[in-house]
């Protein structure tokens, strides 16, 4: 009898595996370990070199190689994946709850006739099946779903598993195959990947984040926040309303339709703590929130809080930090 299997559908950009892939591997490892299932990391790419010798926490790396797979063309991916997944017949298929995974989940579900659970934050093996915990309605509700038999596709939300656990100190076996399906004549063509403007950064890589919410009141006040971030050696990020106003680029948006971050310090300024935002920063190591409203929900997730006006506090704090550093 073939061993039961978890397949992680990898996401990668520019020759690097995305963090969500490592998180999915951590999740897969967690599930597989308790019940002796096998974990396969399935990577669709044009060039296997960057991936074939990665110390991933999976039993094997399976790379499907084809020039068309060099960029994310959802129709190409689906054609390949349906074939591969029918052949491999896993019990659990992990996708990222991301712009990549979300393009694949529906078509795979219909093509394989397999159910889907989205917004997953945790998956456990239990009672011969799987228990999936998901978040709904901007994190205000949690749903528990059991899958007792058959295969299921799960979309994993970023930020719920540790990237480090997705790696290990030995190399899994790597297998490279050509595409099992012809990839010409696709209804979708990937033209180009536009990089963000130079000034922009990946906020998920910052150890210190100073976050501006609606309480910042105006674009002019952002300058003071930038100064503070600079003094702290960190970066400025924000909630969706600030980005929607055009005061910061979308790459700085933290939350459900933005980034999920886990910095060492998350300084929340004038942020009410709406669930859509909190989802993206709740696991930060140290959260300090500044909001004049003592009942703001941000104080439910922050470690420390104060109700002084952020516009008063920010310049004073910046000065203190500068004195400390600059002498």
């Amino acid at each position: 009898m073939t061993a039961r299997e978890v397949i992680v559908i990898a996401e990668h950009l520019g020759g690097e595996l995305s963090d969500i892939t490592l998180e999915m591997l951590a999740c897969a490892r967690d599930v597989a370990r308790t019940i002796g299932w096998r974990v396969t990391c399935l990577i669709l790419a044009d060039d296997p070199e960057p991936f074939k010798a990665l110390p991933l926490a999976s039993d094997r790396i399976l790379i499907v190689k084809d020039p068309v797979l060099g960029s994310f063309n959802p129709t190409a991916y689906i054609r390949v994946l349906i074939h591969m997944l029918k052949e491999l017949s896993p019990q659990l298929i992990l996708l990222g709850n991301t712009s990549v995974g979300m393009d694949l989940a529906g078509p795979l579900s219909i093509g394989l006739n397999v159910p889907v659970a989205s917004g997953c934050v945790a998956i456990r093996a239990a009672d011969g099946g799987l228990v999936v915990m998901s978040r709904l309605l901007g994190g205000k509700l949690q749903a528990r779903t059991e899958v007792l038999k058959g295969t299921v596709i799960a979309l994993l939300l970023p930020g719920n598993y540790s990237r480090e656990v997705g790696m290990r100190d030995t190399l899994p076996t790597a297998e490279i195959r050509p595409s099992p399906e012809p990839l010409g004549a696709l209804p979708v063509r990937f033209l180009e990947l536009v990089e963000p403007k130079m000034e922009d950064i990946d906020v998920r890589k910052a150890a210190v984040l100073v976050a501006a919410g609606r309480g910042i009141q105006s674009k002019e006040n952002l300058a003071a926040v930038e100064d503070l971030a600079e003094a702290l050696g960190g970066a400025v990020c924000s909630t969706r309303p600030v980005v929607d106003q055009g005061w910061l680029p979308r790459s700085r948006q933290i939350g459900r339709s933005g980034m999920t971050v886990k910095p060492r310090l998350y300084l929340a300024l004038g942020i009410s703590g709406a669930p859509e935002h909190v989802e993206g920063m709740k696991d930060s190591e140290l959260i300090v929130a500044v909001n004049t409203d003592p009942d703001a929900p941000i104080f439910d997730v922050a470690h420390y809080g104060t109700t002084v006006d952020l516009l008063d506090l920010v310049p004073v704090l910046t000065e203190r930090i500068r004195n400390l550093r600059g002498g």
Binding site: S99, G106, V116, V188, R189, F190, P196, R250, R320
Partner: protein, 255 residues
């Protein structure tokens, strides 16, 4: 050029969410509904394309009474066609069910473009757009912030969000289904008086098809996430608090 937009009603989180006694769903009489935000963007994008290319926009609105109101607002904004898709409470949030229900209508209507939001606030399975596309054997790309059409109206060029602020530019042959993240401009405002007029004049086609026996995974338990506890509030004036924060950051090795 025919464009369809699918609007879904989702629970409004401004109100307190009350879980039903069964623990498997929200309490039906305590829920208030609001149009799914990403679907509002899908409608806006459709209206932008209508202005550019003279397309005809049909709106399918899913839910209960609020779905009817959403049709009034959509027609006040410029949609030509209004179709009501009644959805009983127990099936709301189930995109598998909805996709199966909509498939025959979408097949026969022959739309060039079907737009809906990338995801719905209350969904627990895959996004509607991808499921519908697969059932209709149409291509699907989601997470879009821009959609342009070529002059012949047979190819759409889309901009898709990737992590880190990157954008993918893809070409999609029509007919296709697209999952909108945000429209090229925020959803337009329409005055209340226009919506009221639209409400009075509204005579939507009602989609009454037998409910398919397709459903997504059932939820065993619905619960509120535990709050780990409240923040420790720091006392003092601005100067004292600034000092306190600096001390904390030093202790934690952050400065």
């Amino acid at each position: 050029m025919k464009i369809a937009v699918i609007l879904r009603q989702v629970p409004d989180v401004v109100e307190e969410l009350v879980i039903a006694e069964s623990g498997r769903s929200l309490a039906e009489d305590e829920v208030t509904y609001i149009t799914n935000e990403a679907d509002e963007h899908a409608l806006e994008q459709a209206l932008i394309l209508k202005a550019r290319h003279g397309a005809k926009v049909s709106v399918l609105s899913v839910g209960g009474d609020e779905a009817r109101d959403a049709l009034a607002t959509a027609t006040a904004k410029g949609a030509e066609d209004a179709i009501l898709v009644p959805m009983p409470f127990e099936n709301r949030g189930d995109n598998h069910h909805l996709a199966a229900l909509l498939t025959p209508e979408m097949k026969s209507a022959g739309y060039d473009l079907i737009l809906t939001g990338l995801s719905a606030a209350d969904q627990r399975d895959a996004g509607l757009a991808g499921l519908l596309a697969a059932r209709l054997f149409l291509p699907y790309v989601g997470g879009l912030i821009c959609v342009t059409l070529d002059p012949s109206g047979s190819v759409a060029t889309v901009r898709k969000e990737f992590p880190g602020g990157r954008l993918g530019v893809l070409e999609v042959a029509l007919p296709a289904v697209l999952g909108i993240q945000s429209a090229e401009q925020p959803p337009r405002y329409v005055p209340v008086s226009k919506v009221s007029q639209a409400k009075k004049a509204l005579q939507p086609k009602v989609l009454s098809v037998p409910a398919p026996s397709v459903a997504g995974l059932p939820i065993q338990r619905l619960l509120k996430p535990e709050a780990a506890g409240k923040a420790e509030m720091v006392p003092g004036d601005v100067e004292q608090i600034a000092d306190w924060i600096v001390r904390l950051l030093r202790e934690r090795g952050i400065v």
